[in-house]
């Protein structure tokens, strides 16, 4: 029994010594990835053909952002919030239009109004509708009339 006690004590002493000598040193390196804010406008309709009656011609475009953004639109031809298409051969020939832009039913301002805010992080498809306010009549000057919808995304 005495011998066993001695052996135990020796073992404890040895273990204690080993534990005393064990050491750890450590270091660390920070890891990071910065994804910069980015928005793209894609799949933009090449042209919207407006019917001669008051039905709408349609178009669309997509906005893809990895951050919240706001969107607004404007037309090249505008006067006092009204929009119109203009004859390419005679600029005095104008036909008033009704232009709407929406995202799943939520209106995007055209020419006037506060920009529409969106959370981003999705591919948002916007619809464009363009119609004449009054149908073309028999005395409406023949010709090609046009306008341009401009899209602006801020992020």
């Amino acid at each position: 029994m005495k011998t066993l006690t001695k052996i135990t004590l020796v073992a404890i002493a040895a273990l204690s010594s080993a534990l005393t000598q064990a050491a750890t040193t450590s270091a660390s390196i920070p890891v990071s990835l910065t994804i910069t804010e980015k928005c793209t406008i894609s799949d933009v309709s090449t042209n919207i053909a407006i019917p001669n009656d008051t039905t709408s011609g349609t178009g669309a475009f997509k906005v893809t952002c990895n951050t919240p953004y706001s969107i607004r639109t404007s037309t090249t031809n505008t006067s006092d919030a009204a929009t119109f298409v203009k004859s390419i051969t005679n600029s005095s020939h104008k036909l008033n239009t009704n232009i709407t832009v929406d995202l799943n039913g939520t209106a995007v301002p055209v020419n006037v109004g506060a920009a529409l805010s969106q959370p981003g992080l999705t591919v948002d498809t916007y619809n464009v509708n363009a119609a004449l306010v009054a149908a073309v009549v028999s005395t409406t000057p023949a010709g090609s009339y046009n306008d341009t919808l401009n899209i602006s995304v801020d992020y």
Partner: protein
């Protein structure tokens, strides 16, 4: 004449009988404590959006055998490491560390630390990349983690 010679002989013999040498010693020793140090530790690892590897390095100098393991501060239940942003959105990462000397892979996250012979200056290279594809709708943000190194000796 005879008496004088005998007397001198006796004196010389008496002198030999009393001689002695005293000795002593002083032990001398030097104890070199076990020590491991890090140096040339990269200040940061900046990942790339395209998922390609970013490499960085560090050096371990030990005067004794040692073992080494690495880890990341962010792990999902032992399955994979990740980086995350302020919104706690995760992007998986892939991490690997090799000893430059012999291309041995260093233990990552779990398992027995890699044993090394020590008595040397050992360079290690870390490769890390984002394995979750970064798309156009992945939130713009700063995603972070910390790469950890432990040396046992």
């Amino acid at each position: 004449m005879k008496k004088t010679f005998l007397a001198i002989t006796a004196l010389m013999m008496g002198s030999h009988a009393f001689s002695a040498t005293a000795t002593s010693s002083i032990p001398m020793s030097v104890e070199i404590a076990k020590k491991c140090t890090f140096s040339n530790v990269a200040s940061e690892m900046i990942l790339k959006e395209d998922g390609s590897d970013t490499t960085a390095g560090y050096t371990v100098t030990c005067n004794t055998p040692y073992s080494i393991s690495t880890d990341n501060a962010k792990w999902y239940e032992g399955w994979y490491s990740y980086i995350s942003n302020a919104q706690n959105e995760w992007l998986k990462t892939g991490v690997g560390t090799r000893a430059v000397r012999d291309n041995t892979l260093v233990t990552l996250h779990a398992g027995t630390p890699l044993a090394r012979p020590g008595y040397s200056v050992d360079d290690y290279e870390v490769s890390i990349h984002v394995s979750t594809p970064i798309t156009a709708t992945t939130r713009a943000s700063v995603y972070t983690d910390t790469y950890l190194i432990s040396v046992y000796y």
